[in-house]
Symmetry: none
Subunit: 217 residues, 2 copies
């Protein structure tokens, strides 16, 4: 088995250090790297057949958390391990929410890093012990978890649109919804078209997931 991995890291020396750590293992090959999230995503558009990404958090242009979110939406099969110096609660939590599969501190030694990379491809969730502890603490204190997603242009959906979104989320099709709301299927379709335009999405699933994320339904 040969694992194809990428690295996002803005610091030249740290990048070099990570590469060196991994150079000992011949079941891992570094396909490409990026100095920030945007650069890495650009390269992923060329080739997204990647197993694991090692992602720094603090980077210019686009930070690792935002990048993780975008990558996970488009290429959910790619495992992402945060590899950072920050053990800040906020960073840990945001990374997990963004979809990170693991969270390691940069002090990790080569052998262990390798093991974690393998583990994540097998469906595990590798974490530095101190980070694992943090996740448990976060779970114990759910009140801290409510952190808010700040700025999206708040789109206003109408009552009817929300009603239809909720029915969509139950798995009902156009005919069933039109029957429930006593309107024609054409109208249901028109409403859904409008919802798509407002939310900037192109399918039922995306619409429902986004609405869910924004607590619209």
């Amino acid at each position: 088995m040969n694992l194809k991995i990428c690295i996002a890291e803005d610091n030249y020396f740290l990048m070099k250090a990570i590469k060196e750590k991994l150079s000992f293992f011949d079941d891992i090959s570094i396909k490409f790297t990026g100095n920030n999230g945007a650069e890495l995503i650009g390269k992923l558009e060329e080739n997204h057949h990647i197993d694991v990404i090692l992602m720094d958090i603090q980077m210019p242009v686009m930070d690792g958390i935002k990048a993780t979110e975008l990558i996970k939406n488009k290429y959910p099969h790619i495992k992402i391990i945060m590899l950072t110096v920050s053990d800040d609660d906020e960073d840990v939590f945001k990374s997990i929410k963004a979809g990170a599969n693991g969270y390691l501190l940069k002090e990790i030694e080569a052998e262990n890093l390798h093991h974690c990379i393998v583990e994540v491809t097998q469906g595990g969730a590798p974490m530095t012990p101190s980070i694992a502890l943090k996740t448990l603490n976060l779970l114990r204190n759910p009140e801290r978890i409510s952190v808010q997603s700040a700025e999206f242009d708040e789109v206003e959906l109408t009552k009817r649109e929300i009603e239809i979104l909720m029915q969509l989320s139950k798995g009902l099709n156009y005919n069933e919804i039109s029957d429930n709301l006593i309107i024609s299927p054409s109208t249901v379709r028109k409403h859904i078209e409008n919802i798509y335009k407002k939310l900037q999405v192109h399918s039922k699933m995306e619409a429902v997931m986004l609405a869910q994320k924004r607590n619209l339904i």
Copy 2:
């Protein structure tokens, strides 16, 4: 360094198995054991100079979660690792809330168990990979944390099926998924058919919503 540990386990054979696993390591000594939570707590009243407790969950008289809560209140210095066959969301979450420092499945091999015991005394939070994954999923979906799982016939989805469900939930279509996973669109469709049969649903939306409700994704 010599670690003083206790075991709470009602099944005689499993207790024996654990003892045997640990007998190889001379930096660990088993101080005493209990057939249930209450019995262990009784013995702790005699001697609570203990480093780590390995705690089963399902036990008569007093289960491991209740015992963990009581012990942590009275002897917060004692590290408690749940050692159980259950990977049920509810058990995992309740154990953590009760104050458990780690959560391992009984299938764990001796070497690894030893390592986890050492790790927990150093402030870590040892978890079986599949449990670590669960804690991350719980963190990502805080609203689902308090929600209650009824007893539905637990359907087993394969790793591949879960992977495909996650991609579906991002709004990707068959072709995008097949491209991501490097399999043919036909195969994606077949997997999805199988998922539908297992979950007893008839559309992507229903499948994703159900999987979400059951913390499968």
